[in-house]
């Protein structure tokens, strides 16, 4: 299985560094939550790690050819775009693109991957619905299913649970945690600190483009870090249900 190694990764927009000298060694089996306030550079970091934008430093994924990278890493952008009223099955099937040679039709393995992804995202029975006619949350799940159907050892997702109802937020986080347990690496940008604390095995805290903290949720989500990076005071507790992080007040 493959991980993701970032070494001194920087992205500049004009003279300003948007991502500033980030190094991290992300291993298979980890569910890494990428957290930080708006504009901290989370999306830019992930796109640079995938090699989709110009960057300095190295990323193990960005060094692969486009075809190899697509088989190694699935990318779920924040912008949930479905341009045409295609069926849910067709849309999820786009995840199989990297596995097909030019002109090759989908085979049994591809169809099994699509059915598996639909099942995991609680979308069985949606196969022939038009993707554009679904609700926003359902579309988000269809797009996650597309990334899952890619069956890549690395899954990188930008705010995958934004806009989902609470139950589907939890099932999606559990799905990602499950994928990590299977030996894949899952990296997700998240804003819900509570869910990040409960499900992620490791958190990277990004602040003004710099990697401020890197470690297990219990070590990273401390009162001083929350105040310094997020400007938040939070209720922190270790309960039999797992860790609870509930932001309560803005500190200035």
């Amino acid at each position: 299985m493959t991980g993701l190694i970032l070494s001194h990764l920087s992205v500049h927009r004009g003279p300003c560094p948007v991502v500033d000298d980030v190094s991290a060694d992300l291993r298979p089996g980890e569910f890494v939550g990428l957290i930080g306030p708006n504009g901290a550079g989370k999306t830019t970091l992930m796109r640079a790690a995938l090699g989709l934008i110009r960057h300095r430093g190295t990323s193990s994924l960005a060094r692969l050819s486009a075809a190899d990278r697509a088989r190694t890493a699935a990318w779920l952008p924040q912008m949930r775009e479905i341009a045409w009223p295609v069926s849910v099955e067709t849309l999820v099937g786009l995840g199989r693109t990297p596995h097909l040679r030019p002109g090759q039709r989908m085979g049994a393995a591809d169809r099994a991957a699509i059915a598996d992804a639909l099942g995991r995202m609680d979308l069985a029975g949606f196969e022939h619905r038009r993707a554009t006619a679904l609700s926003g949350g359902e579309q988000a799940r269809v797009l996650i299913a597309r990334a899952v159907a890619q069956e890549a050892p690395v899954l990188i997702a930008d705010e995958p649970i934004a806009g989902l109802d609470p139950a589907h937020q939890i099932t999606t986080m559990r799905l990602f945690a499950g994928l990590a347990t299977e030996g894949r690496l899952v990296v997700a940008a998240l804003h819900d600190l509570g869910l990040a604390a409960r499900f992620c095995t490791r958190l990277l805290v990004l602040h003004r483009g710099r990697l401020e903290e890197d470690g297990p949720p219990g070590e990273v989500l401390t009162a001083p870090t929350l105040a310094r990076v997020f400007g938040l005071r939070a209720y922190l507790a270790d309960t039999p249900e797992g860790p609870i992080v509930q932001p309560v007040e803005v500190v200035t």
Binding site: R47, L50, L52, A66, A67, R69, A70, R71, A73, A74, W75, L76, P77, M79, E81, I82, A83, W84, P85, V86, S87, T90, L91, L94, G95, T97, P98, L100, P102, R130, L143, R146, Q150
Partner: protein, 330 residues
């Protein structure tokens, strides 16, 4: 309807219309006589009409129509916008400008190939400018902007040529040419248009999978292994070659590239890749049918093909607006 059944049906339609295009004309030949003359070359006048007039005209209708349908479908898929059409990237307007210059300067009258030749030169200049303006790594938006800029400039220069034309007959020639027509074309035009048209089709035909992936947006498509800069280059060159060649021999024929992908999209499950072949066949069928209609409706008045496609296309658009509004419930 399955995709295969749709393709078979559209192919049969194109074949039937092609046959009809060979059988209909002012010469009033009997069907048996005309087809016999076409195959054997016997019967001087009939063979001449069939081989030198009707056959090249029907072939050009297929070439130009398929190019317009294919290019429209590919551009709509790339830009993820159902309003995109082959004229959008400015190649049609620039090719038309080249042709207008040929007409205005009298070169067109002096040499049969001057008009299509200058039109192709116009298309080539447009492509080069487009690629410089839109840059090698730019997205869909810069391509639209560059295309609109080029279209406007070519349109303005065409108007300038008309404006300064000292000769009203030349101006009338220009206006009529710009309406688009397949009348009085010969095999010279077919041989001129064929290589570029086929090259354009070939470039666009390989884009299906990339266009499918673009349903998810540019970022997701690129992460799926689609090389967008290469896709865009193939698309621009393919549209320019096939549509530029079409304008060079037939003038600017509007609405086919816009309306055909629209009509066929629901029948292919909205998949941009599958729409390519369906649209190419649909475009060929629509242009064959329109060219037949031109000959049947006003056989003595030289009704222009582009005028007819616009008259047919605009009401289809009205229907589309109506349908869109009904679906949106407003």
């Amino acid at each position: 309807m399955s995709f295969r059944a749709l393709i078979v049906a559209l192919s049969a339609l194109v074949a039937a219309l092609f046959l009809a295009a060979l059988l209909v004309g002012p010469a009033g030949l009997a069907p048996g006589e005309s087809l016999g003359a076409l195959v054997t070359g016997q019967g001087d006048a009939a063979a001449l009409v069939m081989r030198e007039i009707r056959l090249p005209r029907a072939i050009l209708a297929v070439l130009v129509g398929a190019s317009l349908g294919l290019s429209g479908a590919a551009l709509q898929g790339y830009l993820r916008n159902p309003l995109a059409e082959p004229g959008l990237i400015g190649v049609s307007a620039s090719a038309a400008l080249g042709a207008v210059i040929a007409l205005q300067t009298g070169l067109a009258a002096a040499h049969a190939l001057a008009l299509p030749g200058l039109a192709l030169a116009g298309a080539l200049v447009a492509v080069l400018l487009l690629l410089v303006l839109a840059g090698p790594r730019g997205g869909a938006f810069t391509l639209i902007l560059a295309g609109i800029a080029l279209s406007s400039l070519a349109g303005a220069l065409t108007a300038l040529v008309l404006n300064l034309s000292p000769n009203p007959y030349a101006a009338a020639d220009i206006v009529f040419w710009m309406m688009g027509s397949l009348a009085d074309r010969s095999f010279t035009h077919v041989w001129l248009a064929l290589p570029l048209t086929l090259l354009g089709w070939l470039l666009i035909a390989g884009l299906g999978r990339g266009l499918d992936a673009l349903t998810l947006g540019e970022d997701a498509a690129e992460a799926l292994g689609i090389r967008l800069s290469r896709l865009r280059l193939a698309l621009v060159l393919g549209v320019a070659a096939s549509v530029g060649a079409g304008v060079a021999v037939a003038g600017a024929i509007g609405f086919v590239g816009l309306i055909v992908p629209h009509l066929l999209r629901p029948l292919v499950g909205a998949r941009p890749g599958r729409l390519l072949l369906a649209s190419a066949l649909g475009g060929a069928a629509l242009l064959l049918a329109s060219d037949l209609a031109v000959r049947l409706i006003l056989p003595d008045r030289d009704l222009k093909l582009g005028v007819l496609t616009a008259i047919l296309g605009a009401p289809l658009f009205f229907h589309l607006i109506y349908k869109t509004r009904r679906e949106a419930g407003v």
